[in-house]
Symmetry: C3
Subunit: 415 residues, 3 copies
């Protein structure tokens, strides 16, 4: 079989898998100690669950034989021992993408949502919401006809919209249903900053995400073609500029480097170039990352003003910068490389249409389904559980440092 | 030289190397703070030591010219600057495997074993126990004749037995010699749960192990052949199902997700598919992972009942699921792909024989040699040292947070 | 484009990128909790900034058309969408190297240097100091003529000098300007050990660096040629022996394993083989690593005696072992493989000359420029800020565990 293209996509898949570690560190580090075990295990659990759901259902909806460009209709529960190597490698890459889309939600509603309810959400996103959304643009990568948005000329190379905005929109719907954490907006004088447990770990998480993004964007060619090196550099430059842009903007306002905005700026830059890194110059990637970083800062402010409590700032990153990156594809993408045959203005229009369509679909369906779910089995833990922390209330587990002194003493001295 | 097969194995080697980071995080996170530095540095130290021992001795015993199919007899201390690239790449991959086999033991006996004694154990395992065990099945991958078990038709693709059970058996022998931690079974009312220091880090560790397993299983083809994509998917599916199976089983019992059992279930699923991922369907991999996860849960209970104190639950994962995976190879493996010419029943029989043989060899020799070692220089730290913690007693080091307030104050204010 | 050589260098670039995660963990783990957020974000920030500076300026100075073998003069701010794939991949690899060189400095002066001042330093190193230094030896890898030191026959394969010593020299200059941390040498009775916040994380960091080094050294061939496998093994062996050598030496002195010296010994071994791993036998790599580990121990003692306060021990590792590795290239390198046409003695002489030249250049210019910078805007935080910690003084951020009990209570109970 030996084939450098397949090896490249396998390698890229491993990098995207590493992003799960990045999300785990980012989110558990950015949340409070009393919830950080819950956040960490959610990241592993949603990967495990969504992988199985995507294998069973999602992959078929996303890449199966297209029904009118709207939804796939075969390739469910494939036996890959009998599949062609390229198809199996393609699945490997896509299942990692699905995991990334799902895990975006986990951070947003961290610190107050039931573990079981979150798994319900993960099933909905990985089995239906994300795959159908993906079909509309990416079906042609495997299916024998294109998705309807791709046919209109909508371009989203590695998923600023398909992965990141979809995750962000679904997360926004979810956070509206679940509501803000206790104490975040409670005394009327604006938002309380909730101090994260471990920012060095969160920073490591951002770095792991950054590294993984090389695979996320670079592997989306599905071959080691000649655009890969430029894609990788655009990715790195976009992320770096995004960090400095968000960090610089905040520095200009309050004269110090906001660690979390710097981190989220990097991620915002990365999300922003995701849709277009194959079709823009290095300079354009820098510009797109620059705006992406700023959008993260502004979007964070807006959420705070609206009293929407995104525990790790994932909505500004994935939804905010995702929308920008999708539009930027129309604004700066080389038309010939985009290959849609549209004029600049038409391309911008179609990109805007795509943004709108995905917002309506994802936010709409998510709001509907999650509301229904919430009505059946309340998504949110009780106040007592939230105050106690989800480590103990959901998993009966505490950090050693939180044990009562008496018990620690017992364990240390008993024999 | 440019060769995509070699690059694949190099990449796989790096992934297996990453598993050392996984073990480090898993084990230091799952143990108490007062021992976590010791646990972490043991993971690095055993890798460094066993790598040199494997280069000097183990590689020759494992892959050297076979003496009657029992032990290799050349290739000691090779100069790889003069070796062929494929041989050097093969060594690189195998030395990482050896590191994995050794490090399995470190977690089991964490929190009460002397650092120096553990290094002695690492030398025995990497220089003799593991290489000889490996020779019996894997010699043919390099040597000019097969190991005796391979000749009988025993199949263990990537080491459910050769790596994981061997590590598990040796660890079982060691834990019997070293005994349980103080306070774990001391008051007659069953086992005390010893609260881990950092479960988010342990969860990251499990994820790094999961990612590394792509190389562990995928690289075991030693070429980017057409089975690789299916192997990778079977690996991912096996791990995911194992996690959900173990987690679900525990949930059914006590109505909440046990974080450590979920993690170990994932690892159990991964261990279980390790022997057979090249020869089973995706569905079978799911089934094998399902049972693997359950075995982890049952095996943990059994160990607790027997008052065997495995500090991180590595025996259920590596020995329990390892035995299962080896048998499952006979049960579910495609006979043609296994290529042994045996009937289904014969294959199952040989797999069972292999499990038995490895149990006797590894557990027997380990018990003998470790007992002798323990008689010469006691393996276990003193009670005072154990109570104080191995960070301070073995390395004279504490976490900053454990310093007496007076000293912290001094360091902060002194000038 | 599909080309296994390009894929190898891309993979190696990702591994070198992972070293940023290694530095982040190593340095934030080895420093105090009150500064560890600052240390972590410095590691991300210097990567982001230096990447942009290297793209804009440094790459051109390093690999542009050579002016008399002293400095490059084109290739500034390249648009890689229009560049050839090999050039773009080359840039990707080199920009990661630049990041590594810069980040060496961050640990040395941790816990007392202003964030903004450190960014100034990062710009100087990535935009000028490192690229010019690199040009002298590595220009020929891209430029149409060699650097002047390369023309004399100076050999530094993957950068024992070009990356590590340059980082170390610049760090030494910087630490002399910034001075030791409060409390480190203050009462005249020798050095106070400042207890690190998180040694398990630091150990993970060392392991990530080790893994990344496979790409650092292996990728420096810029092709998957036949020397790669031996380079990788020499790298692994050098690091392993270095750890055991430094650890063993300390053990001989004070009868216990010093965790930090073990870690730094591994890194010292890795630095030492970096210059020569392509041209020495596995046995020589072991020897070079052995001495590298010892040098780390001795160099640490010397710094302590001289009251130079290197917060993470990076000067012994990168400067000390870097000098040794450069000389060892002359001592043990296969002359034919070195390919300079010099005799053994001449080669040793030229390697010594290189060490001297880089010391003068890097230390001299760094001392000059950093002193000037320090005169304009003081590099060091105030005593009050240093005592409070840089997390709070530079970023207004604390760990959750450091919050006053009252505030934690409020956040937990308020509604």
């Amino acid at each position: 079989m030996a084939d450098v293209d397949l090896l490249w996509v396998i390698f890229a898949s491993a990098l995207v898998f590493l992003m799960q570690g990045g999300f785990l560190c980012l989110e558990s580090g950015m949340t409070r100690s009393k919830n950080s075990i819950n956040v960490a295990i959610k990241n592993l659990a949603d990967f495990c669950l969504s992988t199985l759901v995507f294998w069973t259902l999602g992959f078929g909806f996303m890449f199966g034989l297209s029904y009118q460009g709207w939804i796939g209709s075969d390739l469910f529960s494939l036996d890959f021992a009998k599949a062609s190597p390229p198809l199996a490698v393609f699945f490997l890459f896509q299942v990692m993408f699905c995991g990334a889309a799902v895990t975006i939600l986990s951070g947003i509603v961290a610190e107050r949502m039931k573990f079981g309810a979150y798994l319900f959400v993960a099933v909905i996103v990985s089995g239906f919401l994300y795959p159908v959304a993906g079909h509309w643009v990416w079906a042609e990568r495997l299916s024998r006809r294109s998705g309807w948005l791709a046919e209109l000329g909508f371009v989203d190379f590695a998923g600023s919209t398909v992965v990141h905005s979809v995750g962000g929109w679904a997360g926004l719907a979810l956070v509206l249903i679940v509501g803000p954490r206790l104490g975040r907006f409670d005394d009327g004088s604006g938002a309380h900053t909730i101090t994260p447990s471990n920012m060095p770990t969160a920073t490591l998480g951002a770095l792991l995400l950054f590294i993984g993004w090389l695979g996320f964007n670079g592997g989306s060619t599905l071959a080691l073609d000649e655009t890969v090196p430029s894609i990788l550099i655009n990715t790195v430059v976009g992320g770096c500029v995004g960090a400095i842009s968000a960090g610089g903007l905040r520095y200009a306002v309050n004269q110090r480097l906001d660690v979390d905005q710097f981190i989220n700026g990097a991620l915002g830059g990365l999300v922003a170039v995701t849709a277009n890194c194959f079709a823009v110059s290095t300079g354009s990637a820098a510009l797109i990352g620059l705006v992406g970083g700023m959008i993260v800062v502004f979007f964070s402010q807006i959420l705070e003003t609206l009293k929407i409590d995104d525990a790790v700032g994932a909505i500004p990153v994935h939804l905010g910068a995702g929308i920008w990156g999708t539009l930027a594809t129309g604004l700066y993408g080389d038309l010939e490389t985009l290959g849609t045959g549209l004029s600049r203005l038409e391309q911008i229009g179609v990109q805007g249409l795509g943004v709108l369509v995905y917002g309506i679909w994802t936010f709409g369906v998510a709001l509907l389904v999650f509301s229904a779910g919430n009505a059946v089995f309340r998504f949110r833990v009780t106040e007592e559980e939230e105050i106690a922390g989800l480590n103990i209330s959901e998993h009966g587990m505490q950090h050693e440092s939180e044990l009562p002194i008496v018990e620690r003493h017992f364990l240390e001295s008993a024999r």
